[in-house]
């Protein structure tokens, strides 16, 4: 047999000097830019055409439209204005979502510290900060679940209107990516408790996970800006 076992992993030199797996992660993240870019574009297409509440931000509607709405949604448009229009309050809760955004940003900071620990041969530091990153990610997801349930109880779901459809699909797929990231991190954490830990490439593995985690965070910054911060 020509194959021979080696104690340490043999790294064949690459043409660019960058490890194959790291290059793979970068190219994959490029494709993810297209994925989220398309979802955000669909959101923006429908954002320009919003006609039926619930709305993301404060908006006025006519009395005749108000009378066609189901009762639960009419509650959002209770305010009557002097000019005969109804004012619907926006369903988005900016303070709460700002908090969850801060939590996710904090998780990126934790990730940076985890990578530092892995790259400087400090497994204890690495494990602690990987755990914190994952917990912060789960906290963010907790906020998302709370928000989805609140909106649901206020009458906004996938079928209600175009804002509901594009909002839940966009933030839902983002949340799924965060969830996959949490599983990724907890898997690394579990593997780090083996006798050999993450092995001699610990720094590499945690850094690669860091690329994914920071990307998911950056996508959230864009989503938060486009959906929450920019008024309709």
């Amino acid at each position: 047999m020509a194959a021979e076992a080696h104690a340490a992993p043999v790294h064949h030199p690459t043409s660019t000097g960058t490890d194959n797996r790291k290059l793979l992660m970068w190219l994959f993240l490029a494709s993810e830019c297209l994925f989220f870019g398309t979802l955000i574009s669909a959101f923006l297409v429908f954002k320009a055409r919003m006609a039926v509440p619930p709305f993301p931000h404060k908006r006025e509607i006519t009395e005749s439209l108000y009378s066609t709405l189901p009762e639960k949604i009419q509650e959002q448009c209770a305010t009557q204005l002097a000019n005969g229009l109804r004012e619907c309050h926006g369903i988005l809760d900016i303070p709460i979502t700002s908090t969850s955004t801060f939590v996710l940003l904090g998780s990126s900071l934790a990730m940076v510290l985890a990578v530092y620990g892995a790259q400087h041969g400090r497994p204890g530091m690495m494990k602690a900060w990987i755990l914190i990153t994952a917990l912060l990610g789960l906290t963010f997801l907790g906020f998302q679940v709370y928000e989805f349930r609140t909106f649901g109880s206020e009458g906004l779901n996938l079928a209600t209107n175009q804002f509901g459809a594009s909002f839940f699909v966009l933030t839902g797929f983002h949340g799924t990516h965060v969830g996959v990231g949490v599983v990724y991190l907890l898997s690394l954490l579990a593997a780090s408790f083996r006798r050999n830990g993450l092995g001699p490439e610990a720094g590499f593995h945690v850094e690669t996970a860091g690329l994914y985690w920071h990307f998911v965070d950056i996508v959230w910054i864009v989503i938060f800006t486009v959906i929450y911060l920019i008024p309709s």
Partner: protein, 598 residues
């Protein structure tokens, strides 16, 4: 410990079904892709022959309207996703590592995964015929794909099948991009790469960037059909045109993904059998890159009749005209390669040379469509059917057959029979022209696409009958190929390393190569390295004692493929299947991550 060449294991010593199921060898995976792709090519061909039988005479009674809609939809889906793309993947798998002087791709297990996802996705999509197959065209325009227009699950099969196939292509494209960028042998600079490798790199980038918009469209279609969203349903505020944009943002780069690999193949075949290096190598590479970039800027030429504003229409028209320029550069470079060459017209060369005029015909009708006012008359007529079949059958398929005849000796050690090959070629050449040229006339005479029959007084009967005769001629030509393969495989392997005296690295090892591809990784001193070494009297380096380790086989790729299939089957049967698929996927991913790779 590797020593002299004779003691190294030869390709094919591992036998048995399990060795194929767990293989991570790019050559075996390439063979699996090739056999599966050719099988689905026959399936798509049968679908086409049924269509042609129905359309041969007015008021045809071979197929009813319901089945006809499924047939033309599945014919396109089968040919594009289950035949042409995987056939190209077969050649990428077999030849890319060899051509760059590598021993395998960057991620051998992910390579196997791509194959299993393809096979399972293909079976999923094709199994829809047991129920109702997708029947809204391969482009699946909303809102006809929504639940209120059909009670069957046909479009769920469509979306889920394409999602699986998309993941397969994503994994493969990322794998080949990393392989080509990062695993070239010493001395193999980017501008010494064979043009086939460059074309593969370009379409790899196109694939992993163009598939995400399609993925989003398919997911939104699934949500519309299953979760009551209204992305594409006008009544709920949705926009059917949004589907068209999402589909064609993928769909247009997709057609360049289909044509660039065959263009790469003939860029290898024509120099070899002209006994002359490719004319204008740099122009060929940069033209390919230009086509890749520009393919993103033309998608709405498929939407000229949807009511776009004049400014975007003009921009897309101009870009569509411009993309003919780099394509034309390639045509002239192939001609320039042959000019002054010592030409050998064997079967591979016949297929490659015929690509040039046949693709040009398709390109001419294509650039006619680029004008919106003219396209308004072409849209949804047989004129477009003529165009697309000239570029895809008379172009891409003929290019693939050139690759089959060229690389068959490398893959099997045997040269395909030239006599049968000539019958194969000429029947196909006559067949494609007799089938598809009359469709230009039918289109101009007003025959719409996607009609299951037509009335007697339309005066379309003569050319339809002609096209049907042509289609059976084409099928007969393909039958000659199949016969040729069976006849040839019964012979003893005697092709030798380089029966064509070709210049590229895949010919620097045995036919077929050993499992580890090269006894010694070749040193590359120039483009067309074997011709350079031959002309400068440089002998191949002798094998060394350096140990060669190849990645061990693994069952995690097929297991992960099964998990993915379970995810896809849930929405078609019971969500419990999806739920069970999740632990299968987790188990496969963890096992994959933790198993030793040496």
């Amino acid at each position: 410990m590797a020593t002299a060449a004779g003691t190294l294991p030869q390709y094919g010593t591992h036998s048995g079904l399990w060795s194929w199921i767990t293989t991570v060898d790019h050559k075996r995976i390439g063979t699996m892709y090739l056999v599966t792709a050719f099988t689905f090519f026959i399936v798509g061909g049968i679908e086409a022959l049924l269509i042609r039988s129905q359309l041969a005479v007015p008021n045809g009674t071979v197929i009813d309207a319901e089945l006809y809609n499924q047939l033309f939809s599945m014919h396109a889906l089968t040919m594009i996703f289950l035949a042409v793309m995987p056939m190209a993947a077969a050649f990428f798998n077999w030849m890319i590592p060899l051509m760059i002087g590598a021993r395998d791709v960057a991620f051998p297990r992910m390579n196997a995964l791509s194959y299993w996802l393809y096979l399972f996705g293909a079976l999923l999509l094709t199994s829809s015929f047991f129920f109702t197959a997708p029947n809204s065209g391969w482009f699946a325009y909303a809102p006809l794909t929504e639940v209120q227009y059909g009670a069957s699950q046909a479009m769920d099969f469509y979306a889920l099948g394409l999602l699986m196939l998309g993941v397969s292509s994503m994994a493969a494209s990322l794998n080949f991009a990393v392989t080509i960028i990062n695993m070239r042998a010493p001395g193999m600079t980017m501008m010494r790469l064979p043009v086939f490798v460059w074309m593969t790199l370009i379409i790899a980038f196109l694939l992993f960037l163009a598939l995400p918009p399609l993925t989003v469209g398919l997911l939104e279609l699934l949500f519309d059909r299953n979760f009551e969203t209204h992305f594409f349903i006008p009544d709920g505020g949705g926009d059917p045109i949004l589907w068209q944009h999402l589909f064609w943002v993928f769909g247009h780069p997709e057609v360049y993904i289909l044509i660039l690999p065959p263009m790469g193949i003939i860029s290898e075949v024509i120099p070899t059998f002209s006994r002359k290096p490719l004319f204008g190598y740099s122009a060929m590479v940069f033209a390919g890159i230009a086509i890749g970039f520009m393919s993103w800027a033309v998608w709405s030429h498929h939407m000229f009749t949807t009511g776009l504003n004049p400014v975007p229409r003009a921009i897309f028209a101009a870009n569509t005209m411009l993309i003919g320029v780099p394509t034309g550069i390639k045509i002239f470079n192939w001609l320039g390669t042959m000019y002054g060459g010592n030409i050998k017209f064997n079967t591979a060369m016949l297929f490659a040379v015929s690509f040039i005029p046949l693709f040009t015909i398709g390109g001419i009708s294509g650039v006619m469509h680029s004008s919106p006012p003219i396209d308004t008359h072409h849209q949804d007529t047989y004129f477009v059917v003529a165009h697309l079949h000239y570029v895809l059958v008379a172009g891409a398929i003929m290019g693939m057959f050139a690759g089959l005849y060229y690389w068959f000796p490398k893959m099997t050690g045997r040269l395909l029979n030239e006599g049968l090959g000539k019958w194969n070629f000429w029947l196909m050449f006559v067949g494609v022209n007799v089938t598809f040229f009359p469709m230009h006339f039918l289109g101009v005479a007003g025959m719409p696409r996607r009609i299951y029959t037509y009335a007697d007084g339309m005066a379309w009967g003569f050319w339809n009958m002609t096209a049907t005769i042509g289609s059976f001629t084409l099928a007969l030509g393909i039958l000659f190929f199949i016969i040729n393969v069976f006849v040839t495989l019964r012979k003893e392997p005697n092709a030798g390393d380089n029966p064509w005296d070709a210049p590229t690295l895949e010919w620097a090892t045995s036919s077929p190569p050993p499992e580890h591809d090269f006894d010694v990784v070749p040193a590359v001193r120039a483009r067309d390295p074997l011709w350079y070494d031959r002309d400068h009297g440089i002998a191949p380096a002798p094998p060394t004692d350096e140990p060669i380790h190849m990645p061990p086989p693994s069952y995690y790729p097929i297991l992960l493929g099964i998990g993915a299939l379970m995810l896809a089957l849930g929405p078609l049967s019971s969500m419990a299947v999806t739920a069970l698929g999740v632990p299968v996927i987790l188990y496969s991913v963890w096992g994959w991550a933790l198993e030793p790779t040496h």
